[in-house]
């Protein structure tokens, strides 16, 4: 398919379908994440990208036969691999009999929160989650390193603002509806953030939803206005603090004589310690995820405005 817009929409639909798939398989936490990230924010970011690159793929004459060959082999191998897999939901499958029983039976006593998924990813395997947060942080820094444009001069900033004003004057209805919606989106993000212990949710999803609210604001009221509320330095600081917050929980448990990320030693009562640890690390996750998403959006969109501005000035120069 040559139409990139259609490709992005299809990938968004694919994300939504896989999310429903996960719901059908009772993996609601994964489904929530997939819906927020796969169907939501990544589609949005890719749309921002095609506003810069153009909607059509460049026609090429080369036919990727060898790629097709590799894909067929890989696919064939994957299907071959499924032949000996235990059936879906089979009670005697190894995954249900080795590590899972402890998670299911004992996590309530050991960690004290009803959502087993959260106890696995925030306590039993907290270090993996920490790694994921660092992956997201790295992605944000990578985007900054490649895309951030050197600080523009004041007058150019004003010019951008004026372009925005004329552009956004038309969308009066949408702006008012968005104004009403944004507080609720933010509130919902906070609910997801704190409700992760009891139902599907947690820092990752909450961060993405929170970022979505800010991005919506930026799209309707102009990038410059949004940047006035949240500037680049501030958002970088939040991203860094998110990682540090998470890591510091581990360091504090080191100081208190436990192993890294041993929440039991955070408080005199192990269960209270677990609660406290999970609460703080979820905050760290939320901070980093939300700010990195905003960083990525701001830099892509800022780049786009920068480009169109350059084109415009070129245009006026040539007409003179």
């Amino acid at each position: 398919m040559k139409d990139l817009f259609a490709v992005i929409m299809l990938s968004g639909i694919y994300g939504l379908l896989s999310a429903s798939f996960f719901v059908a398989m009772d993996a609601v936490d994964v489904a929530f994440t997939e819906a927020a990230v796969g169907a939501g924010i990544s589609t949005l970011l890719m749309l921002v990208v095609i506003t810069m690159t153009g909607r059509k793929e460049k026609p090429t004459r080369h036919k990727p036969i060898s790629a097709l060959f590799v894909v067929i082999i890989t696919g064939g191998l994957l299907i071959y691999g499924t032949l000996d897999m235990p059936y879906f939901g089979a009670a005697d499958a190894p995954i249900h009999n080795h590590t899972s029983p402890r998670y299911i039976n004992d996590s309530m006593q050991e960690i004290g929160i009803p959502n087993i998924v959260t106890s696995v990813l925030a306590s039993y395997r907290a270090f993996d989650t920490f790694g994921e947060v660092v992956v997201i942080f790295t992605a944000g820094i990578g985007v900054l390193a490649m895309l951030s444009v050197a600080r523009r001069k004041e007058d150019e900033d004003d010019e951008i603002a004026s372009i925005n004003d004329s552009m956004h004057q038309q969308h009066l209805v949408i702006r008012i509806v968005a104004k009403m919606l944004i507080p609720f989106i933010l509130l919902f993000a906070l609910y997801v953030q704190f409700h992760g212990d009891f139902g599907p949710g947690g820092g990752f999803q909450a961060g993405v939803i929170f970022a979505a609210a800010i991005i919506l604001y930026a799209m309707l009221f102009g990038l410059a206005t949004a940047r006035r509320v949240i500037n680049q330095t501030f958002i970088q600081l939040i991203a860094a603090i998110g990682v540090l917050l998470y890591g510091c929980v581990g360091l504090v448990s080191l100081m208190n004589g436990g192993n890294f990320f041993d929440y039991n030693v955070l408080s005199s009562d192990p269960i209270a310690g677990q609660h406290l640890g999970i609460l703080i690390i979820e905050w760290g996750v939320g901070c980093t995820v939300a700010s990195v998403m905003v960083i990525i959006f701001f830099n892509f969109a800022g780049r786009r405005q920068f480009q169109s501005l350059k084109k415009q000035t070129k245009h006026t120069e040539s007409s003179k």
Binding site: G81, Y103, Y124, G131, V134, A139, G142, A145, S148, A240
Partner: protein, 492 residues
């Protein structure tokens, strides 16, 4: 605090990265990263000492017991690799400040150090962990930061090179993830130690076979084994010089470490080498890789390209040693991990110095450099001799062990070919020497001065190490040999 050394190894550079972002001032950040790297280096020295005297260290993250929680497991093999990574990163960082001044725009210096530390974290995390999924998480950290670091290169082709690497690297990482997922499905565990005990029960299934195939191919992509090496030359050539020096010495080594870890410790020797003809495949690919890459290196005019291709051929030597599946063969691979890191970082740091003075590393610009930058050129010559495998350098030691291992199993035709391949290395090193020492400088190039001390110190530390470990092989051989023996001890 010594009980927490395994986690400190990874967590020190990890926490330092966001702190760098807050510190902001480029010079301060440089100093801070350097201190962090020195700390990481000292931790790795302590770890190696501890492992050599008292055996495997296991560290339970979060205080959860192994298959339920994540375990850090340091044995001789990964302590050795940790030492290689942290020592190279420290030496490279010394020169980083001056080098990036000329190659990276000013407003990105802080981000450069943040990414550098993240990439260091990623590699250390991959090596230190004893959990298969944790490997993947840190693999992502190290790869993402690597793509961004390479894209920072001055030449616009760096972006394209980075993009190619991104696509290939992502495919590799996905393959590894698929493999890990399949293993989890068949065993219900992600812990490597636990996997190695539970895999034999289900070893006959097709699923495990496919898991092994995916992990191996994914890792071969990451370690740039011929014919999956196409991303490497441009990535190394167009990345900022300091990044090249760091990655050439460490990035592919980490992938080779993982290959050894998965084939020997997780799947087990007998499974790995009997289910598919791994030995024949790897030996053939290794040999072809050596010849193709060395002969391509001869025709390159960008010197970074020359040594990037040379890296691919050196990977071939390591893979041949690995494919023998004998203690001596594995020793030679491990030795070469260490030795190759020493030579390549010396050479690429010297190239960074030339980049700093001359502005590019095209062969023509090397004319007369032998007189104008004698110390830097001498370092390249010593590094080159080491690549060829001349006695009294580290290159000789690892080739010697590789040949012994080959002859031990009666592979004398292969041994002859390996020796023959060294002649190709002579050719591409000689081309540089000839231009640098025997040709008059280009008339239109202004004469250049010797590189500043901040380059020469780390370069010559590495050069001296190249010679020292070529003569006094007690440390490197002892560690490599006992690491290899312990790997075979586990599986036999």
């Amino acid at each position: 605090m010594t009980a927490h050394l395994p986690i400190l190894q990874v967590i020190i550079p990890l926490m330092a990265a966001p702190i760098c972002l807050i510190l902001k001032r480029a010079k301060l950040v440089w100093l801070f990263s350097l201190i962090v790297s020195v700390l990481a280096f000292s931790v790795s020295v302590l770890l190696l000492q501890q492992v050599m005297t008292s055996g495997v260290i296991s560290y339970e993250l979060g205080g959860w017991q192994a298959p339920w929680g994540i375990e850090y497991r340091i044995d001789k093999l990964n302590a050795f690799v940790l030492l290689i990574i942290t020592s190279i990163s420290t030496l490279v960082l010394i020169a980083a400040q001056a080098s990036i001044e000329k190659e990276i725009p000013k407003d990105k210096h802080t981000l450069f150090y943040v990414l550098f530390l993240l990439s260091l974290t990623g590699m250390l995390g991959i090596v230190a962990t004893g959990d298969a999924f944790n490997v993947f998480v840190f693999l992502e950290i190290s790869s993402l930061s690597a793509y961004a670091l390479i894209a920072l290169g001055k030449n616009r082709r760096a972006l394209w090179a980075s993009y190619q690497y991104l696509i290939m690297g992502t495919i590799g990482a996905t393959f590894i993830l698929i493999g890990i997922g399949l293993m989890y499905q068949m065993t219900g565990t992600l812990n490597m130690q636990d996997l190695s005990q539970r895999l034999p029960e289900v070893a006959a299934t097709r699923t495990v076979f496919v898991a092994f195939a995916f992990v191996t191919v994914g890792l071969c992509l990451k370690l740039a084994l011929f014919p999956l090496h196409l991303w490497l030359p441009n990535a190394y050539a167009f990345a900022p010089s300091i990044v090249t020096a760091f990655f050439a010495a460490t990035a592919t080594k980490v992938a080779i470490y993982l290959l050894i870890r998965f084939t020997f410790s997780v799947f087990g020797l007998s499974f790995s080498f009997t289910t598919i003809p791994l030995q024949t495949v790897f030996m053939a690919l290794g040999l072809i890789g050596i010849f193709v890459a060395s002969s391509t290196a001869i025709y390159q005019n960008n010197i970074k390209h020359v040594f990037a291709y040379s890296s691919i051929s050196q990977i071939g030597y390591m893979i041949i040693g690995f494919s023998l599946s004998s203690v001596t063969g594995l020793t030679s691979t491990l030795l070469h991990l260490f030795n190759h890191a020493l030579m390549k970082s010396a050479i690429f740091l010297a190239l960074a110095a030339i980049m700093f003075r001359v502005g590019n590393v095209q062969l023509d610009n090397f004319r007369g450099l032998g007189r104008q930058m004698p110390l830097t050129m001498a370092a390249i010559v010593v590094g080159g001799l080491s690549l060829i495998g001349v006695p009294l350098t580290v290159g000789f030691v690892s080739k010697w062990y590789l040949l012994t291992a080959l002859l031990e199993q009666g592979w004398w035709p292969i041994a002859a070919l390996v020796l023959l391949a060294s002649i190709l290395a002579v050719v591409y090193v000689w081309r540089i020497v000839e231009v640098a020492y025997f040709k008059e400088p280009l008339p239109d190039r202004a004469p250049v001065k010797e590189a500043p001390l901040i380059f020469l110190v780390p370069i010559w530390i590495l050069v001296i190490a190249n010679v020292y470990f070529g003569i006094d092989t007690r440390f490197s051989v002892q560690v490599a040999e006992s690491a290899a023996q312990s790997l075979f001890g586990v599986s036999l």
